[in-house]
Symmetry: C2
Subunit: 318 residues, 2 copies
């Protein structure tokens, strides 16, 4: 089967490309390289089952050509920046909501009817139920990022009903691992490289968060795509644990042999729209036989080791 | 207070304009007259507290000028066509989602921070809980219309968190009454005027639906805007009853003195994305002291009487 992967040069996208090629699929990778990295696709470029298309999800013509002949679209391209939504509110609307509409239309034009989509646990806003199940009470959005992913989910679900699509919607916690290039481990490590004696922490550091290792995340996604049979299949993806931001700082500092002074900016939230507690109920994906192999701590440390071994990634972003 | 009403020449919008003027407010009416009617604004045009702006919600510049100096925006402009979403999927995205983004940005530019929004019970998809409360389990969308309104709700909520807005989100059942120009009473009456002996009914006629009289709807909206204090206030608006489509046909036929043969197209749903059972839990708005004055039957008959007295409305749409 040929699979179109949007956001293929990104963190999760490029890992997914490698896995799909390993499993024998043909892959069309689609990326505009705004935040993705060509180096992430180097292993894939060696395969004759791999096609790279440089294109933007806001370009319907290019997307439509890329989707031709595919049996599945894994739509991962997005503005994944949760923190700065209020500085550029149009970005989430365009790069997430409108882009997803374009992907769905490109699929419809080509008769492609299966889509896997990277949604987010942020869609639950500040939930009242922990761990939070997929059927949690109808949430109130607290970020433009979450709102835009909610809009994408709704569009995808409506295409399932209206046009006979089948969808796999994954609500991720924060994902960690090789090629990670965005998030707290990245930010903290980059900061400690510059100034090992002090670390600025957004909020009070007591925010409770859940993380998932990218390899475990891909195992879950591929299992669900293979086994889930409903028209609309929504899965939380996370570990059955959470940590505090301060815990993660301790693991990172310990691995680096540093004891930075912590300067907390204060408050229960690191930024406007930050959810102080993210902990998803993943019983549904576990019922398919999936279980994550890495703990949060192991995921954080593996991510840190990857960044230490790949300083180019910190420099290109600096 | 000056209130901007988008979709002001529409069914609910024009009734709201009249009510706001009655209560002494200044009103800026905004409409592109694509589906609205100038005749609906004739009473308002007699008031010196009324300003009419012909403009499109897809024109950010015009919207921004119109929002200047307002204390509240009642955003009712929308593609309200639930049935034909799959024939033109871009329409809901543009006229609902993107238009709402434009309204929010026009407000932000002008420092206007209170918004009332016409959402829909369709946002619950095909719910499992009846009557369906605002806190129903996270729904799966079944129509592009519902998906677009969900996207609007999410955007509005994110602006509340990010930019200090306060929102009143109303999830309506179908609304009926004077100036009604869209929906089953309209369709059935228009059809019976042409052919009184036969009536084509979408689905099996057993769909259970709830309806609300526009006067009751406006009472609820104005009460909530006055009294509800949360940052994000979501209210279901409906009656505590439902009827079958066949019941309504009986009332309409009876009032007209007709006994048409019914030709049901069959199936539990009238169209793709039709929810076979809509019945909202309205305890939250009732807790503010609101109660609807008209039953569904009374609302249907009052609507029919209005259409009989205003044949121009059927002709202009024919």
């Amino acid at each position: 089967m040929r699979v179109l992967v949007t956001g293929a040069a990104g963190f999760i996208g490029s890992n997914l490309v490698d896995r799909l090629l390993e499993e024998g699929h043909e892959v069309t990778a689609y990326d505009n390289f705004a935040t993705g990295h060509r180096r992430f696709l180097e292993p894939a470029l060696g395969s004759d089952r791999f096609t790279l298309v440089e294109g933007d999800t806001l370009d319907p013509g290019s997307l439509t050509r890329a989707a031709r002949g595919c049996g599945l679209v894994c739509h991962l391209a997005a503005n994944a920046d949760v923190r700065f939504g209020i500085e550029h509110p149009r970005r989430d609307l365009e790069q997430n909501t409108i882009a997803t509409y374009n992907v769905l239309e490109a699929m419809r034009t080509n008769g492609v009817r299966r889509i896997a989509f990277s949604s987010t646990g942020s869609i639950y806003g500040e939930p009242q139920v922990f761990p939070t199940p997929e059927s949690a009470p109808f949430p109130v959005q607290t970020s433009l990022y979450g709102a835009s992913k909610l809009a994408c989910e709704g569009l995808i679900q409506a295409y399932c009903e209206g046009f006979g699509f089948q969808a796999y919607i994954f609500r991720f916690v924060s994902v960690l691992g090789e090629r990670y290039s965005h998030g707290h481990v990245f930010d903290f490590y980059r900061s400690l490289r510059t100034n090992p004696s002090e670390l600025r922490v957004l909020g009070n550091g007591l925010q409770r968060k859940s993380y998932l290792y990218v390899g475990d995340c891909l195992n879950a996604m591929l299992l669900a795509i293979e086994q889930a049979q409903e028209k609309v299949n929504v899965f939380n993806l996370g570990t059955d644990e959470y940590c505090q931001v301060n815990d993660s700082i301790g693991w990172i500092s310990g691995r680096l042999g540093l004891s930075p002074r912590l300067c907390h900016t204060g408050g229960a939230r690191g930024w406007i729209g930050d959810s102080p507690f993210i902990f998803l109920d993943c019983a549904k994906i576990r019922s398919l036989g999936w279980t994550p192999r890495l703990s949060i701590r192991e995921g954080v440390l593996r991510t840190l080791d990857y960044l230490v071994a790949n300083p180019w990634l910190l420099e290109v972003r600096a």
